[in-house]
């Protein structure tokens, strides 16, 4: 099976991406984000969840959440590359919102063959936010690992590392029972559900542990069928996260290049010195490889699904390593100023460090990839 030359990124996708680009340029400059999320620098500050609900409303009205919802479920049914491009713009703006988490929930629900899932997708298409609660205390990314148990449709236990938990309205929860792991929809306002926010480094999102005590849940994937759905969705989830890092990486590259071109030391612009110029070129090379791999993997999800996991692991691996590299060089080459709270760089630095580990860092992706390409080691 082969892919279309243009990664399936046609005029519609480009139009959507360009609209997003304009939206973020108009509504959330780095300066605005900084003022918003970095207002309290105290290292022992209280844990807050800061975001702009009105912008989220506009995004829903623009129909971004419907992009990858199948038409049958009331969505637009665009290819995955469409939201990948959106994720890239989100990363470039370090935009705090439940958008990417909602995409990830969408991809999982798309793989759940149930009426409840279709209903949920329809609600997402009309702007209901959602997120995944599928990770256990040990931070396992394996689809069968969960610390939540399901008995008679009631959930008990804890979910960990839930992204944008305080912004999302619905949770897609992985819970185990004798019959295996299933997936369940839970409204965040449900009785017995407690969101315990994490204190995280990334200022542009929130994360939480969620406690379930006899929480009513709606089944979207029957016990035993949950892991398959999550695994089918994982390539898209990895691509979304990779695209976010590609976008943040591009912001860091452009910002640092501009600084290095204007900042003068030893009577020369910093970028005159190859010790600055060449590492920045290397950052560019890393971004471009990660970007191409991400669009390739996203295209595969629609056009050659059998290769999707392999290609998505490649993309996440490249993007994760690039994220750390782009973040570190940006602070380094901004010199003293880049080390201050006032400078915008740390906002993106922290987002990159968060994303590089989310859903598994480069080393993890490569170990999974090696099993796919070489078979398990003896």
């Amino acid at each position: 099976m082969t892919q279309s030359k243009n990664f399936g990124f046609g005029e519609d996708e480009a139009m959507l991406r360009d609209a997003a680009r304009k939206f973020f340029a108009d509504n959330c400059s780095a300066n605005k984000i900084h003022t918003q999320v970095a207002h309290d620098s105290n290292i022992h500050r209280d844990i807050e969840c800061i975001w702009d609900r009105s912008l989220w409303q506009q995004i829903c009205e623009l129909g971004w959440t419907a992009a990858c919802v199948p038409e049958a479920a009331g969505g637009i049914g665009m290819p995955v590359v469409a939201v990948i491009a959106l994720a890239e713009e989100v990363g470039k703006a370090a935009f705090p919102s439940p958008l990417l988490s909602t995409f990830n929930a969408t991809f999982v629900l798309r793989e759940c063959d149930s009426g409840n899932a279709t209903t949920a997708l329809g609600e997402i298409a009309t702007g209901k936010s959602a997120t995944l609660a599928i990770t256990n205390k040990r931070g396992s990314w394996e689809s069968t690992d969960t610390d939540v148990a399901q008995v008679d449709g009631k959930l008990n236990g804890m979910a960990y590392f839930v992204q944008d938990a305080q912004k999302a309205e619905t949770l897609v929860v992985a819970a185990s029972s004798n019959a295996g792991v299933g997936l369940y929809l839970v409204d965040v306002s449900s009785t017995g559900l407690t969101i315990i926010p994490d204190g995280i480094i990334d200022l542009t999102r929130d994360q939480a542990r969620i406690e379930f005590v006899n929480v009513d849940a709606v089944e979207v994937a029957a016990p035993g069928t949950g892991p398959a759905a999550v695994e089918k969705a994982m390539p898209a989830i990895l691509c979304v996260t990779a695209a976010d890092m590609v976008g943040s990486g591009e912001w860091l590259l452009q910002t640092t290049t501009e600084y290095a071109t204007t900042r003068v030391q030893f009577d020369r612009p910093l970028a005159f010195f190859q010790a600055v110029k060449h590492p920045l070129v290397n950052v560019m090379l890393a971004i471009d490889a990660a970007k191409s791999l991400t669009y390739n993997a996203a295209c595969a999800i629609d056009e050659e699904p059998d290769n999707a996991e392999r290609l998505a692991r490649m993309a996440k691996s490249a993007a994760s390593d690039m994220a750390v590299f782009s973040a570190s060089r940006s602070v380094q080459f901004h010199g003293g100023i880049g080390f201050t709270w006032e400078c915008f760089v740390h906002i993106f630095f922290k987002r990159q460090m968060h994303n590089h580990v989310l859903y598994g860092d480069g080393k993890y992706q490569r170990s999974k990839l090696a099993d796919l390409l070489m078979g398990n080691a003896a």
Binding site: S4, A260, F272, M284
Partner: protein, 413 residues
Amino acid sequence: MSDETKDTPEQAEFRAHCQKWLAENHPGQPPVHIPQGALELSDPDAMEWLQQWQKSAYDAGLVGCDYAKASGGGGMTDCQSIANQEMQRAKTPFLPNIIGMGMAAPTIYFHAREEVKEELLPRLLSGEDIWCQGFSEPGAGSDLANQQTFAEKKGDSWVINGHKVWTSLAHFASWMILLCRTSKDDKYNGLSYFVVPIESVMGKGVTVRPLIKMTGETGFNEVIFEDLVVEDKYRLDEVGAGWKVAMTTLAHERGAGLLVTPSAGGMVTAEEKGAAVGSASSLIDLARQSYRNGKTAADDAVIRDAVMKLIIRQEGFRQNQRRIGVKALNDHPMRLPLQFKLVATEIGQDIAQLAYEIEGAGSSLYVNDDNAPAGGQWQLAYMNSFGITIAAGANEVQRNILGERVLNMPKSK
């Protein structure tokens, strides 16, 4: 990854032709040792066999497809890439006239007079005339503009004196693309660009001496010009426009040119015992076949991680080439094209270097040992990889070009 889908009607028809012809005309395994690439060619028999293959591919229309008919081309549009894909898939041998097709042809096509195109391009594309490149000099490596070879106008002709080095294939070459100085007053605008005969004037103004590489291979040379007389019609573009013309050559060399270079390959030669050499994924086969410190290398998690890193880098490079074709995903037109040479050569070097660790103690063995893993080809490839990280503007210079032309950073001079 092939691209049938989205072929234009012309492309689809041509692809079918290629597939049919290749199925019937693959030359089979070579009767002589074929090196890893055209630049390593030193055996005349190998060259002759490969020239015959290029001629037959040319006669079948698989070489020069996108060049005008008047220049001996196929007069088609965007079809060379189709032919390349099919030849790759058919695992044919490589085409030997690599400098001719990749650098000389497009430069001549865009800068030479019609009569010169008609005279030279057909025999170039057919591989009957092998071409070499006269850019590097003892004092002009990465600093290409520092040319000292001088062409002096005498009547209607030019008299050329100077010394070129690292000229691959010169010992087989009928013609050379030559960058030289026509004025000492201006470093860049003092350069002019010529095509000059080599074989026909050997010993009469041209001397070719082989240089030996660190691998022990020959294949590149130094070329000395002593009062070589060249007709004015063989000058490309205006006097003093040499630098501008050379940029066309380099753009195509770096995969950033307008014309797609005819290329074939994919054939695993008999010499390459065990694993095929070159691609990152071939390291997987090597790791499965190799004992590293007594154990199968493919079971070593650290080796697996290193191999995956390279497979990912190489796939990223491939997908970059694909993304070049998608305008909406390129914010700067030259950003990806200018990365080609830098990225390709460094990946190749790192792939070959890792092979040493995969092979363990066996990596000490060379091509002259029957027990060498993969026939010692990985060690050969590693050493040869420096030829290309150094050549055509060392990669340090490539990074300057990217920093300055794409990221608009100030020059480092």
